[in-house]
Amino acid sequence: MALLEVRELDKIFRRGTRIVQAIDRFSLTVEEGEFVAIVGPSGCGKSTFLHILGGFEPHDAGTMLLNGAPVKGPGPDRGMLFQEFALYPWRSVIGNVAWGLEVQGKAKAERTAIAERYLKLVGLSAFRDAYPAELSGGMKQRVALARVLAFEPRILLMDEPFGALDAQTRELMQEELNAIWQQTRNTVLFVTHDIDEAIYLADRVIVFTARPGRIKDEVRIKLERPRRIDVKKTAAYMGYRNRVWDSLREEVLKAREEFE
């Protein structure tokens, strides 16, 4: 049985008299331990899909099963990582990472130990007592990643997690996430508009159409793991890149027409 099974999901936005179909009969299965990336033009509903899966937005039709059970409301079985980090500025780094464990009712000594372990994993042990305001964007997202890993969700839902970072930091973060994933082997659903990021990180890349969002293409990335950043220079990688870009290009143009 697949860990995540989404069947015929529909999402409609109603603004006054205007009705916008955001997601149209979207189906997806994700296996345990699989890293799936969703790429699509901006406004295609890929983030909306993640918010629905996270339990933060209602949907209009379709089913979502996580580990065989229907998804209802937000819960710690799905760990959300947001583009804007969403760290609590009043809590220190360690306090942020331990917060999810606090909610789970773990004793202080235990949650500190777990939080320290995950801080070490993301390479920020030295900043355990700093406040988020003292960190760079890349460091903030690493803290957010440690925080979400610490409460051990069944699946990680990442909503353009590196979208707020500059190009160089972004590339470093991709490398780092790749290395962390190599150790943890979490099941990940990763939404991005960056093709390189998607191919480099994922086992499977799903291309969303322009609105209404549905599956346009699905590409299995058979690049060997563990992947070094150099993989981006190989012919195989370029092949995947061209394939995904060709699918996406049409949709980006369509989406642009709609906005103009």
């Binding site: 996270g54 933060f56 819960g75 799905r78 804007e84 009043w90 789970q104 988020p132």
Partner: protein
């Protein structure tokens, strides 16, 4: 640039703020000593002497204590109601809708105008003054708490709910700390208002307190007494404000980083 890293420059800036008041006091003293000044322009040295006398005799403290009871009593009551209702209105739309017209309509009314009515209800003692101060403090604390709670980053709440936090925990551990900077801003405005309204109420009707001292001193042309009372009010207000700012810096350790002076 962090101010703490440059203690020298910080002291210098503080001194800069003293230049104007000191110059004014010196000019005032010289003018008063030159003779022929109006009677309300008493030399600062005389005012200080009077203030000292009243301090020693305990008279100034008596009035100050009466004012503090009213100001702080009303501050505590108004602040508690304002924060509680404001936060509630900030998270519950119906509560906000319920209070919004009443608050918008009564906010611009100077609260001191209802003092006669309050006296009719509660008598001429401390209760009516505390009630009018309560009303005055309620508004800034309510409005700031409301917008503090309403403006909490949606993702803070989402990420807490994602971890499985209950609504009560989300309120206590996320909305409250996230709204705290603005709640404290409301409390700071409220503190100044508490003193202002206390003195105004005492000037209208009371048997003691700094406002009463001012009005009786004016009536008997004892301007030195009047100034002594004004000095006391200014010092209390200043001390209260500084204490609040210090508390704010402590409470908001993570939220004030990189903001100069922690304000």
């Amino acid at each position: 640039m962090s101010a703490a890293a440059q203690p020298f420059s910080r002291r210098r800036r503080a001194l800069l703020g003293l230049v104007l008041p000191l110059a004014a006091v010196v000019a005032w003293e010289l003018r008063a000593r030159a003779g022929g000044a109006p009677s309300y322009l008493i030399a600062p040295s005389v005012i200080l002497a009077t203030t000292w006398e009243m301090l020693v005799s305990g008279e100034l403290w008596q009035h100050t204590r009466a004012s503090l009871v009213r100001a702080l009593g009303g501050y505590a009551l108004g602040g508690a109601c304002g924060i509680a209702l404001g936060l509630l209105a900030g998270i519950a739309r119906p509560v906000e809708r319920f209070y919004d017209p009443i608050v918008s309509l009564t906010y611009p009314v100077p609260k001191i105008v209802v003092l006669p009515i309050l006296i009719a209800w509660l008598g001429a003692g401390d209760a009516s003054k505390i009630a009018v101060v309560t009303a005055a403090v309620f508004y800034p604390t309510f409005i700031n708490s409301l917008y503090g709670a309403k403006g909490v980053n949606r993702l803070y709440v989402w990420s807490a709910r994602n971890m499985g936090a209950s609504p009560l925990r989300v309120f206590a551990k996320v909305i409250l700390p996230a709204a705290l900077p603005q709640v404290l801003t409301g409390l700071r405005i409220g503190l100044a208002l508490a003193f202002i309204v206390t003195v105004a109420a005492e000037m209208q009707n009371s048997r003691g307190g700094l406002g009463h001292l001012i009005i009786t001193a004016e009536d008997s042309l004892r301007f030195d007494l009047m100034y002594a009372a004004i000095i006391a009010i200014a010092l209390i207000g200043f001390a209260g404000d500084r204490a609040l700012l210090a508390a704010r810096r402590r409470v908001l350790a993570g939220q004030t980083i990189g903001k100069e002076g922690g304000q």
